[in-house]
Symmetry: C2
């Protein structure tokens, strides 16, 4: 068993026009021997956003803290603590922080997808 | 894309000597078309606990709120908001709420394992 506080993991930062104000952490992945799927935590700064994109694998997201919106089904949708979002393979999606605190969300992907 | 607030999902309750004070919800699973893994949220009441058991599949857990302990590696270990726990296939494990608020944790399993 491995037990980690996310804050002990050094984040990888993305900060450009496509991915703005993002800190990403792999909480559980290949390096831990995870056989089937990978747990990542993303911290999006106020005003920040992920890329708008599509890919062949799914996302299973859970929103831990902060306030934001997820783009999907052709519109922006509000999300906050306790929201679960399933992005099916091939669906266009994007996440942005619309609040004043960091937006923290888990985003899990199957093994074989890029971990970060 | 599917977006749900966990509170809109009716929980399945477990309350006996083996699994005490547990409310389980499948947030994203087979019924949603999830192809590779299943996201469940467990709410453990103060004084409650999950079974101590082992099985052939892994868990990837993330602790959302409340205070508790997870049994693993032969001892009880403290967990709280922001803790990530990887339970490898075959590892004995158990979770208990040691606080005064509900202990809320995500616990993901690969497709093929029981969803609840």
């Amino acid at each position: 068993m491995e037990i980690k506080d996310f804050k002990t993991i050094e984040p990888v930062r993305f900060d450009n026009e496509v991915a703005k104000g993002i800190a990403g952490r792999v909480l559980i992945g290949k390096a831990d021997g995870a056989p089937n799927f990978c747990m990542r935590l993303f911290e999006i700064a106020p005003g920040g956003h992920t890329p708008r994109h599509t890919h062949d694998w799914e996302h299973e997201m859970f929103y831990h803290s902060g306030q934001g919106e997820v783009y999907g089904n052709g519109q922006w949708n509000p999300v906050g603590p306790g929201s679960a979002v399933f992005v099916k393979p091939g669906e266009e999606h994007q996440v942005r922080n619309t609040g004043t605190e960091p937006l923290m969300l888990l985003c899990l992907v199957p093994s074989g997808a890029p971990e970060l």
